[in-house]
């Protein structure tokens, strides 16, 4: 078992799960009181985005009502308060990722921008004609397209490590693809379409043996697993705030300090410089070198509040609760005649994808919606994964900390209703 899956299987985590009071937690999320076509909302689209607790909504409101000012430049008190809140949130992110130094935490718009930043800075510096970037067959489009853009510009090649029919990475094949021209590995910690947890620590060790740095897309991992970037030893790690109960439009890029310092800037502008003349500009230190312009201050503060909220509940307790839901849902949905699960890896987190005999996912999604059940249907921004399994789309139910077994029972009833109407 790989290290990052330990967080949901530790003996202590099981005890936490017993203590996890989901009804109490649900009261923290105002949107869960919404009614959909007169029925209670059953929100099972958490892999797309999660709902926001009062603590996050209030932190953002408080900032705009009481502390709103630009950061890093004003001598006035409000600017000091805003700067302090912003930099305190950076420290919370450092602690959340177990990074060594807050200078290694760069705020970006989301995981997508984090990956693009690396492609356009580290990538353009280190990837040349004939070089290779190695990804896997289970990546989200956001971890494919930035590398295609880079490879096209540089005359480099994108290599893709294959997966098996369960949706697990084939490590031997991946190892064989790590060659003398490989300049970077980019891989999801958890697959958004399949739910597979990849053995990141092992992959990083494999790549580092060939002196190849590794970028980890943690967008689907951070909601469910405790992440320790020093233990993983990855070189870059990205995630999105809105998938961990924080606001949209804010995300994080972690990079080892030495790598970030050596990289050229991504965008030019204010805050990323230490001095500007028409002859020469001296860039600011990291992480500010990568944060040009007035950042999403309210988003950063909201993200900090989301991390506080997760840590108060305990990420291991959350992970254990969600693991129970996933196992229960897998068992119940698998038992429905005519249903086929897509993604049956031994180590999974968060998402259950499935298809039904001769019923298209889009029709399933519409009927479930009428029952108040929100699921995602489509290719989940992972068309190569759909091609791998020979299907155009799946239905994906994805779980968050506020979901319950009763909601999964409703999902199963909803699927029965689909069969009744369309079967």
């Amino acid at each position: 078992m790989s290290t990052q899956t330990l967080s949901v299987h530790q003996p202590g985590a099981a005890i936490d799960a017993v203590d996890f009071n989901v009804e109490k937690v649900r009261a923290d999320f105002p949107v869960l009181r919404e009614r959909i076509y007169g029925r209670p909302l059953i929100y099972l689209d958490n892999a797309a985005t999660s709902q926001k607790p009062d603590a996050v909504i209030e932190a953002i409101t408080h900032y705009y009502r009481h502390d709103n000012a630009n950061i890093h430049r004003g001598v006035h008190l409000l600017s000091q308060r805003a700067t302090e809140s912003y930099e305190t949130a950076r420290e919370k992110v450092r602690s959340f990722l177990h990074a060594a130094d807050a200078r290694e935490i760069v705020f970006v718009r989301g995981a997508t921008e984090g990956i693009n930043l690396i492609a356009q800075t580290y990538g353009r510096t280190h990837v040349g004609a004939g070089d290779e970037v190695l990804i896997t067959a289970m990546e989200h489009h956001s971890n494919i397209v930035p590398w295609q853009i880079l490879c096209e510009e540089k005359g480099a090649f994108l290599r893709v490590a294959p997966i098996n029919d369960r949706g697990e990475l084939l490590l031997d094949e991946m190892k064989a693809l790590l060659g003398p021209r490989t300049k970077l590995v980019a891989i999801a910690q958890v697959s958004n379409a399949l739910g597979t947890i990849n053995p990141i620590k092992q992959i990083v060790r494999m790549a580092h043996e060939k002196n190849v740095p590794v970028l980890v897309d943690g967008a689907q991992a951070t909601p469910h697993l405790s992440v320790d970037v020093q233990d993983l030893d990855c070189d870059f790690y990205v995630f999105s705030g809105h998938k961990i109960y924080g606001p949209t439009g804010i995300g994080v890029l972690y990079g080892k300090a030495a790598l970030l310092e050596a990289m050229p800037p991504y965008q030019g502008g204010g805050d990323m410089i230490s001095s500007v003349t028409f002859e020469k500009t001296i860039y600011n230190k990291v992480p500010h070198k990568f944060e040009a312009g007035t950042p999403h201050i309210a988003g950063v503060i909201g993200l900090g509040a989301a991390i506080d909220y997760l840590e108060k509940l305990g990420i291991n307790a959350i992970g254990a609760h969600e693991q129970q839901l996933l196992e229960y849902a897998t068992e119940r949905v698998r038992a429905i005649p005519g249903v086929r699960l897509i993604g049956t890896a031994r180590h999974k987190a968060g998402a259950l994808s499935f298809v039904m005999d001769s019923i298209h996912p889009h029709d399933i999604g519409t009927i479930l919606d009428q029952e108040g059940i929100a699921v995602r249907t489509g290719h989940h921004c992972a068309q190569p994964v759909m091609d791998r399994f020979g299907i155009p789309a799946t239905v994906r139910a994805s779980f968050g900390l506020y979901n319950t077994k009763d909601e999964i029972d409703s999902l199963v009833q909803g699927i029965e209703k689909v069969k009744e109407i369309l079967g």
């Binding site: 001769s358 519409t366 009927i367 009428q370 249907t377 489509g378 068309q383 369309l422």
Partner: protein
């Protein structure tokens, strides 16, 4: 859920399960491919023209019940129609599935009126119109059959 049954009527489910004119024409005069990037649905329309009249029409593709039924019913309703009649029918159909038609107009749509229930489901309008958008591309692109592969598929986005 009266609304759901309005959309998933028996006649629609029957067309979805056994679509009419579901085949490739061997030597089509015109041909176009459609794609709905939202859900991955695909549709290819084949036309055989007699002057300005649609002499034969068929389709192939993968998609949900609504898109298959819509394509199937469209092919049935267009045989023998002129290009102009086909475009008028598309306009009326589009109005119907987006809820902009009067009931007396729906009465003139024949079998296609079965798809009127789609108007209660805005996220499904593109499923119902994919085949029609693809048809329009085929009609506007003469001799496409001889140049297939040169053009990107038409999309609903």
């Amino acid at each position: 859920m009266a609304d759901l049954r309005d959309m998933y009527q028996e006649v629609i489910l029957e067309h979805a399960k056994a679509p009419r004119n579901y085949r490739a024409l061997e030597t089509p005069d015109r041909k176009a491919e459609g794609f709905n990037p939202l859900c991955g649905d695909r549709c290819t329309i084949y036309l055989m023209m007699q002057g300005d009249v649609i002499d034969d029409i068929s389709f192939q593709g993968s998609g949900c019940a609504i898109s298959r039924a819509s394509a199937s019913m469209m092919t049935q309703s267009l045989k023998g129609k002129t290009t102009r009649e086909a475009e008028e029918l598309f306009q009326n159909f589009h109005n119907m599935v987006t809820g902009r038609n009067h009931h007396d107009q729906e009465a003139q749509m024949g079998k296609l009126a079965a798809l009127a229930g789609v108007s209660a489901f805005p996220t499904r309008v593109k499923c119902a119109t994919l085949a029609w958008h693809t048809l329009q591309a085929a009609l506007h692109d003469e001799r496409e059959g001889e140049r297939k592969g040169e053009r990107e598929p038409i999309t609903t986005e």
